[in-house]
């Protein structure tokens, strides 16, 4: 592949990228290689270092050590070249509240050097795409959170960037708005190189070609959603829905199996080997009214739990 005189193998590459804030290591030597056209997700809890990593790749923060390359341009050596190839939708909605939707898009198109005609054409397309065409002339301070978020994504697309950073694009939105934004992001798959950060497992699972799980600044796992799930497929999860489940029974099960979690309507038991009959035969004589039992396929939540020892929503 080539881009001008610059040659590169990956659209985004990081080499031991690190950032410290005083004694706190926010990003700890991450190495990533993201192909052109790939939708790559950084999945991790709040404070894991996702936004800091994106800020460094967008040339907003200087790495403490290591570096990153965007379309072959070094973020440290040539930030202006990097900025010409990227755009970003920050975690906050990041829009000009007193401008209307149309003016917001024109602003970003203008500062990124697009001709007026091109901005007009792209804005029309994008406003249509995100369903804001009818309200394009309204000041955006009157928009709902979901509308602002959709506009924010459209603003990141107006310059038709080669690499797009989406930092928690659905944070704080209701499920319906979230799914609407997923659809817009899914439409971009294969057309743009996208680095998406999220702490929503379903979002990464539904959208990403590959996922890197990040915790305390380090990449703890990397692969396709299926690869990550397969990596713990030797763990079986049995879901028991039951009533009259005494605490002492759960405590005994915790001695037998490595992970036993009480749920709203029963328990979940995880182990490499689970004996269905053994569990049922243990529960029934102790007065537990079993309503149903099932074996569950591992989810990204399970992957995260196994790798970090904590739940993502903590």
């Amino acid at each position: 592949m080539s881009y001008g005189t610059n040659s590169y193998r990956f659209a985004i590459q990081t080499l031991s990228l690190s950032r410290k804030f005083g004694d706190l290591i926010a990003v700890d030597g991450i190495d990533l290689s993201i192909k052109e056209g790939e939708l790559f997700s950084l999945l991790g809890p709040n404070g894991a270092g996702k936004t800091t990593a994106i800020k460094m790749l967008c040339c907003l923060l200087r790495p403490s050590s290591g570096t990153g390359m965007i379309m072959g341009h070094d973020i440290y050596e040539d930030p202006m070249a990097v900025k010409r190839t990227i755009d970003v939708s920050p975690q906050e909605t990041a829009i000009a509240e007193h401008l209307n939707a149309w003016e917001n898009l024109s602003l970003i198109g203008g500062i990124r050097g697009l001709a007026k005609e091109e901005v007009k054409k792209r804005s029309e397309e994008l406003l249509e795409m995100v369903g804001l065409a009818k309200r394009a002339k309204e000041q955006v301070r009157k928009f709902s959170g979901g509308m602002k978020r959709r506009l924010s994504i459209a603003m990141a697309l107006v310059s038709d960037p080669q690499v797009l950073f989406l930092d928690e694009p659905t944070l704080g939105l209701d499920p319906q708005s979230r799914r609407g934004i997923w659809e817009h992001i899914a439409e971009l798959k294969g057309k743009k190189t996208i680095l998406l950060t999220t702490h929503y497992l379903e979002e990464a699972d539904a959208l990403a070609d590959r996922i890197a799980i990040i915790d305390e600044g380090k990449i703890v796992a990397l692969g396709t959603p299926q690869e990550l799930k397969d990596s713990i497929s030797d763990m079986q999860v049995m879901v028991v829905k039951a009533k009259n489940l005494p605490l002492d029974v759960i405590e005994v099960l915790k001695y037998i199996y490595p992970e036993v979690k009480a749920t709203e309507d029963g328990i979940e038991i995880r182990a490499k080997e689970l004996s269905f009959y053994e569990i049922v035969d243990y529960l029934r004589p102790r007065g537990v009214a079993i309503q149903s039992t099932s074996l569950k396929r591992p989810t990204l939540d399970d992957v995260f739990l196994q790798l970090t020892g904590k739940e993502l929503r903590e």
């Binding site: 907003l60 923060l61 202006m80 939708s89 920050p90 500062i111 050097g113």
Partner: protein, 250 residues
């Protein structure tokens, strides 16, 4: 000329906030009338004549402009709009210009309003009014730049507090309605280091005594030299993201 797009946005952002604009223009005009009335009550020997008051009130108005520019930038920083803008291939000078230029019409409007109101109340300028206008214009731009620095360092709530302190300092140490030279001591010493008293004093010298540029050159260059735009030129993008008094969450 990519900065023009951002300058136009900042201009619209400012003029689409009619309450702030109204206060910005109305407060100095109101103070001018109040102190003029007070001066009349005190008699002919009063310091508070329209000719003495107009430069002071104009600079007093710039202190509000300082807060205004600080709030706009602090708000852009808090909403992460500034982060988005900083990922565009703009240079530090583009940011400085686009966050400064939109306020210049407001600075000019404020000076003209003070002069106009002063004329209605009996302003008698002996010297070149254009020269007085020039030194006040530089002071106004200086205040906008200072506001930008505050906007980079503090959040919106903090800006209100810090801005109030600055307004008080301008009022007391700038010699707007008291003669700080007559007070002397530390009070005069501090006031003399800051640019506000120089801008007011220079403009008064022109208007009251008919002084030419050579007589107010020291005041003029003092104001110009302390214009903090030079300081924040290289500093802007670094401070906007990497620093500030409010460390962002990771």
């Amino acid at each position: 000329m990519r900065f023009t797009e951002l300058a136009v946005r900042n201009f619209k952002e400012m003029w689409r906030d009619p309450i702030s604009i109204g206060l910005e223009i109305g407060i100095p005009a109101g103070f001018l009338v109040i102190f003029w009335a007070l001066g009349r009550s005190l008699g002919d020997e009063s310091f508070l004549t329209p000719t003495m008051l107009v430069p002071g009130i104009a600079v007093f108005g710039f202190a509000f402009l300082l807060m205004f520019s600080a709030v706009v930038l602090a708000r852009d920083r808090e909403s992460a709009l500034l982060s988005r803008l900083l990922t565009a291939p703009l240079k530090p000078r583009d940011f400085i210009l686009s966050y400064s230029l939109p306020y210049i019409p407001l600075v000019i409007l404020q000076i003209l309003l003070c002069f106009g109101m002063g004329a209605l109340l009996g302003l008698e300028a002996l010297g070149n009014a254009g020269l007085a206008f020039l030194i006040l214009l530089v002071m106004g731009i200086c205040c906008v730049e200072l506001g930008m620095i505050l906007g980079l360092l503090f959040n919106v709530n903090q800006v209100s507090g810090v801005g109030s302190v600055i307004i008080t300092l301008v009022a007391l140490l700038g010699g707007i309605w008291i003669d700080i030279e007559a007070i002397g001591g530390v009070f005069y010493g501090i006031g003399n280091v800051l640019p506000f008293a120089h801008a007011i004093g220079g403009a008064r010298n022109v208007m009251v005594h008919g002084a030419g540029f050579s007589s107010i050159a020291t005041d003029f260059y003092w104001v110009l030299g302390l214009c903090p735009s030079v300081l924040c030129f290289r500093y802007f993008p670094v401070q906007a993201e990497d620093g500030g008094m409010n460390k962002r969450k990771l």
